[in-house]
């Protein structure tokens, strides 16, 4: 009967190894050291602020971020712009409000409580302006893609010449990391496309890292609070567990039994 078990483990090993062969053609994503990973992971504040700059000067031309408000920019655990800065950022956008007392819609400067202004009126308008492809909303984009930040970071740097033999339609680009390698978005970043206000050199790699960090925060604004609370909660639980363990030993010592 032992043989049955052995035979079975051989079958499992065989099937697992062959499964690995099947999935071997997956592309490895580019890696970088994200500060927000790990037990005490926090966002790099300067990177978040630069990332916002990349988003607003490059991505925001096509990509909306409809679940974020300007007030979020000054909140704890985020880019932490000062309230004055966040107000100035909000005021630099024109927001449609209304109707007013005359029943008319009107334009006014943005306020902290406004959601990020969308680049297009609706999905159809966005599609029409982008060759039929809808530029996805970026609020939770990092969480909506397998591979998360590594995938986004790689994709931004994954533009290459298409391999010979691959025919690309008009308005379609080759990207090493895109699913199926064909992407409608043209390479959004190039060295020096923006000028960082803090003087950092705006290389494609630097901008990719900054904007991906910003997107991670946009998708998980409470990441820092979560990590901090998590550590406290787990330490508390461990201490309590140890105390309960000794109480249990004590109580069970009255019975001739093992715990």
């Amino acid at each position: 009967m032992k043989n049955i078990l052995k035979l079975f483990s051989v079958i499992i090993l065989f099937s697992v190894s062959s499964v690995n062969v099947i999935s071997a053609e997956k592309v490895e994503f580019l890696k970088t050291d994200w500060t927000f990973k790990g037990l005490f992971g926090k966002f790099d504040r300067a990177s978040l602020q630069r990332g916002y700059q990349v988003y607003t000067e490059v991505c925001a031309a096509c990509h909306s971020m409809k679940y974020l408000s300007y007030r979020n920019l000054s909140e704890k655990g985020g880019p932490e712009f000062s309230v004055a800065q966040a107000k100035a950022i909000a005021a630099s956008f024109e927001v449609t409000d209304g109707p007013n007392a005359d029943g008319e819609m009107f334009q006014r400067p943005g306020k902290l409580s406004d959601k990020f202004v969308m680049p297009y009126e609706n999905v159809k308008a966005a599609e029409a302006a982008n060759g039929g492809a809808y530029p996805p909303d970026m609020s939770v984009l990092v969480k909506a893609r397998g591979g998360g930040v590594d995938y986004i970071y790689s994709l931004l740097q994954g533009y290459e010449e298409a391999p010979s033999g691959m025919i690309l339609d008009d308005g379609v680009h080759y990207n090493k990391y895109m699913y199926g390698n064909k992407i409608k978005m043209s390479a959004p970043l190039s060295d020096g496309i923006i000028e960082y206000s803090d003087g950092t050199k705006a290389s494609v790699e630097q901008m990719s890292k900054d904007v991906t960090t910003f997107l991670m925060w946009a998708a998980e604004p409470s990441l820092e609070a979560r990590h901090q609370m998590g550590f406290k909660a787990i330490v508390y639980l461990i201490i309590l567990t140890v105390l309960v363990y000794f109480s249990m030993k004590r109580i069970w010592s009255r019975v001739k039994s093992e715990v």
Binding site: M1, K2, I4, L5, F8, I12, S15, S18, V19, I22, L39, Y67, L68, N72, P136, S139, V140, K143, A144, R145, G146, G148, Y179, A219, P221, S222, A225, R226, H227, M229, G230, F231, A233, I234, L237, I238, L240, T241, V244, Y245, S247, M248, I251, W252, V255, K256, S257, E258, V259
Partner: protein
């Protein structure tokens, strides 16, 4: 239930208890004689109660902020994550709580399979348990639909479409379930209603489950009947309470790790994309805890037979007490059954794995073999094994193994240590 009469000490207590014997109940629960040799696999009943309460409490808060409407559900979940005080915490506890609930229930079920807890006189406890498990799957599936992401929508489409396999009336039944001609707002609102209802049904069944348990008392690792109360038992409080509490805390550490450090690892990225009826995801997969049954469903080429196979895989458990012909409960004394038990565990894990993979080529072949083996285990191996197997003689009481007494028990102990 309780073998002894109980009279409250205080006059007021006696007055109340004569009219509503709640104090007698409380006394029964604290004094409830429990076999003293229960191991940690027996702590999952308490852990599951904790899981159910956690889901109900967090669910109540989420329901205060959630909007069950196809156009607003996704946004309202983001509202919970961003604007509700500690909304992210409550939602992540609820979402990961579902996975923890299933993790615990699978351990609980497989503990019962190993120690034969489903056998006479505990068949009713077992069957109530299977009903609870079915309701849990329904609640979890409907809960997964509520955020109205891509996997929500397409998962709901795939699963509800299974009902179209019913001969003659299938299409009509599906339209009735949807409340329209596709998964849409009416489907979402009824799923929300049922998702809110089912946990309370489960709560009621849990009461029956525990009540039914308290009639014959707990099974135990040795699997022989225990005289109660006797030197083989300890009162539930404080002995089992503290032990369950300790195990629960260990469980909570694992739970907390997922909630705080990997809250999305058990979910699917596609569910952060708002539902879009015009775009089908590349792979539609259910949550991990439903994968073995999903694999069984897909391993049968015919739709109707696939649905029948999937349902049978669950319902076959309900008749397990009569399929297993062995009178010996614990696998410790059944050397052959013990091996087949572990093969079944491996088989279910393999089914879970291939359930997550595309149903083609080698995966499909593995799924078919594993499905066939699953049914073989219950329909052929168990009935035959009970009649043919040569079992190890049972000890006279559980005190023997606890004190390391008889030679038989020494052997049984050795076998047990090999498992871990």
């Amino acid at each position: 239930m309780s073998d002894h009469e109980y009279t409250p000490k205080s006059k007021a207590g006696k007055w109340f208890n004569d009219r509503l014997p709640l104090l007698t109940l409380a006394n029964h629960l604290t004094d409830y004689p429990t076999p003293k040799n229960l191991n940690y696999w027996w702590t999952f009943g308490g852990i599951l109660t904790f899981c159910l309460i956690t889901q109900i409490v967090t669910g109540l808060v989420l329901a205060m902020h959630y909007i069950a409407h196809a156009d607003m559900a996704f946004e309202s979940v983001e509202h919970i994550m961003r604007d509700v005080n500690y909304g992210w915490l409550i939602r992540y506890i609820h979402a990961n709580g579902a996975s923890m609930f299933f993790l615990a229930v699978y351990i609980h079920i497989f503990r019962s399979l190993f120690y034969g807890s489903y056998k006479s006189p505990r068949e009713i406890i077992w069957i109530i348990g299977i009903i609870i498990y079915l309701l849990m799957m329904a609640a979890a599936f409907m809960g997964y639909v509520l955020p109205w992401g891509q996997m929500s929508f397409w998962g709901a489409t795939v699963i509800t479409n299974l009902f179209s396999a019913i001969p003659f009336v299938g299409e009509g039944v599906v339209t009735w379930l949807w409340g329209g001609y596709s998964v849409d707002n009416p489907t979402l609102t009824r799923f929300f209603t049922l998702h809110y209802l089912i946990p309370f049904l489960i709560l009621g069944l849990v009461v029956l489950h525990i009540w039914a348990l308290h009639v014959p008392g707990n099974n135990n690792p040795v699997g022989i009947d225990v005289k109660k109360p006797s030197k083989d038992t300890v009162p539930f409080h404080p002995y089992i309470v503290i032990k369950d509490g300790f195990a629960l805390l260990m469980f909570m550490i694992v739970f907390a790790f997922f909630v705080f450090y990997a809250p999305n690892i058990l979910g699917h990225a596609d569910n952060y994309i708002e539902a879009n009826p015009l775009v089908t995801p590349a792979h539609i997969v259910p949550e991990w805890y439903l994968l073995p049954f999903y694999a069984i469903l897909r391993s049968v080429p015919d739709k109707l037979l696939g649905v029948v196979a999937m349902l049978s895989a669950i319902l076959i458990l309900a008749v397990l007490p009569w399929l297993d012909t062995s009178k010996i409960r614990s696998a410790v004394f059944r050397p052959l059954y013990k091996q087949f038990y572990w093969i079944l565990v491996a088989d279910v894990l393999i089914l879970g794995y291939v359930g997550a993979m595309p149903a083609e080529g080698l995966y499909l072949l593995i799924a078919r073999v594993a499905t066939a083996y699953y049914f073989l285990h219950f329909l052929v191996i168990l009935p035959v094994l009970g009649l043919k197997e040569r079992t190890i003689p049972l000890p006279l009481s559980i005190t023997e193994p606890v004190l390391g007494g008889s030679p038989n028990m020494a052997m049984a102990k050795k076998n047990e240590s090999k498992i871990e």
